[in-house]
Amino acid sequence: MAVTTEDQQHGLTAHSHGAGAPVTSRADHFTSFDVNAFEVPGGREEIWRFTPMKRLANLHNGAEATGTATVEVTAAEGVAVETAARGDERLGTAGTPGDRVAAQAWSSFTEATVVTLPGDAKSEPTTITVTGPGAGQVAYGHLHVHAKPFAEGVVVIDHRGSGAYADNVEFVVGDGAHLTVVAIQDWADDAVHVSAHHAKLGRDATFKHTVVTLGGDVVRLTPVVTYTGRGGDAELLGLYFADAGQHLEHRTFVDHAVSNCRSNVVYKGALQGEDAHTVWIGDVLIRAAAEGTETFELNRNLVLTDGARADSVPNLEIETGEIEGAGHASATGRFDDEQLFYLQARGIPEEQARRLVVRGFFHEILLKIGVPEVRERLEAAIEAELEAVGA
């Protein structure tokens, strides 16, 4: 068994929290489809303590839907797209809401969208565009993506527009299937998005899940991965860029309850501007039965200006000694002046040098996304973020 940890802390406003076992075990985390089973959170609760509750448009406090989000699917050949009513037995099979907003979304959505990738076949990328209900409006939604056994394909979920939106997104990855997902949060400045992703991986399934969060006033995303058979392999990647006033929160949870599965979590974020705030919570639970687990998680934050704050909390809980390897690392640093100096000493103007360094910082994630169209768009989006402040 190999357990490695690495914690570094730089920068006055960077906060790296003690790693190791959380106060309460992740195994005891409460889940329910019933919104009333959850108390209305006040903000002091462990899972809400970083979230600015006042800016949630009451999604946590019974806000009624006043509008709808538009869901458009550009499906690849062979990929089935349906709408499903509440009660459809496929819905809710990938996971159970783990907080009040997810449970609220579950009980409030009007119509779910179900996307099915054909089994034993390779399909071209499918894009699901979700447009918010509009400024001042509230909407709930539900997406269900099913990759049948030995399916191979890519699903891009593109969020844009205004308003408050809470949803559950399910990924059922069948035995031997390879599903790549890219979820882009490119919201308008006012948007509030609270989203629970539930992935259930079959035997020998691989799941590559990339989250890219750029826009929105508050975005809180909770990807959860569970395994139902041996050989499951989950790669959770994240890239976020917070500007002044934005709160971008990502809470990953990988639940290793089955033996011989793998997980790798890599989230990287950049922050710039007054009160830009990012939160990354990385929970990994290796249950007693999960022998031969291999897991690693990493979060890196690049603080580009004063007044920004990055919280980073890796939690690795291990209930068995028989693991392949487990580790985590978390680091939050100021912009590296030595890198800047080196590039400038070669004649590269400061602005351009900064951009090179930030692009370089995200490069690893962009490379791993593996969907060329998406990568180009993201490179352009990062460029735009950097230009916005003249960094």
């Binding site: 100096f341 910082f361 490069h363």
Partner: protein
């Protein structure tokens, strides 16, 4: 004809215990075509001198001046200095993850030359320059200096010297960490550039061994933040034999073995 004039340069570094003066009045003039070896014991301030000239933000110039062809270098930003024709091959080159060597080199060449080099010529130029320094072409796709060995980093510094073609080159312990073969390859790289241009070179070193490959016109002994003695190549021979004892009051060799 480029000239770098350093006059009565005083430099401090900010430490936790306040500012600490490291350079205590350095005077030195380097003209095009000349090679000046700066030799001194550990901690004497050689790197501080090179960083101060290049404009590293950690070092504060408290008095004195640095002029390049009469222009005030100290008024320039780091990148302006480089574009004005100054080049510093660093003792410890910096790793820049995620930025490929080829992207970096092209961006730097574009900045220094004032226009993007024509792609076709550029590819050929880089390829040849790499091969001259025995650098595997695969390095072009690796991140700048990331995971490079000490010797590989130094080769890439000299690669940049050849591609960026400065008027004045400061080579800070380019010889350190090099084995015999690498020292030869790197020295040949420096000599090739010297032969093709009228560059003025400040060759900083602790040991005399690189001077067997790159012959200096002048040798300066650097001790306690200033030039303690200047002379011709014969001064290096003296240091080789006697070490730095005369300058620092204790034995520190300038030769190996």
């Amino acid at each position: 004809m480029a000239t770098l004039e350093i006059k009565d340069l005083h430099v401090s570094v900010n430490t936790e215990d306040g500012a600490k003066e490291i350079l205590k009045g350095v005077d030195l003039t380097i003209k095009a075509g000349e090679t000046h070896a700066i030799m001194g014991p550990n901690g004497s301030g050689k790197s501080t001198l090179s960083y101060a000239i290049a404009g590293h933000p950690k070092y504060e110039i408290t008095s004195g001046s640095v002029l390049l062809d009469g222009e005030d270098v100290l008024e320039m930003t780091v990148d302006e200095r480089a574009r004005a024709g100054l080049f510093l091959a660093m003792q410890y080159p910096v790793e820049v993850p995620g930025v490929s060597m080829s992207n970096f080199l092209r961006t730097a060449a574009t900045a220094v030359r004032g226009e993007a080099p024509k792609l076709r010529h550029w590819v050929k130029e880089v390829k040849e320059a790499m091969s001259d320094l025995d650098i595997d072409p695969a390095f072009a796709e690796r991140s700048v200096n990331e995971g490079f060995s000490g010797g590989e980093k130094k080769r890439h510094e000299i690669l940049q010297l050849g591609l960026l073609k400065p008027k004045i080159a400061i080579l800070d312990e380019t010889d350190s960490g090099l084995d015999v073969d690498a020292l030869r390859v790197v020295s040949e790289g420096v000599n090739r550039y010297k032969g093709s241009s009228e560059v003025g070179v400040m060759l900083i070193t602790h040991y005399t061994r690189i001077l067997k490959y790159i012959s200096p016109d002048f040798v300066h002994v650097f001790a306690a933040g200033r030039i303690a003695e200047s002379g011709g190549p014969e001064l290096a021979d003296k240091l080789e034999a006697e070490g730095y004892v005369k300058y620092i009051g204790k034995q520190e060799a300038a030769s190996i073995g």
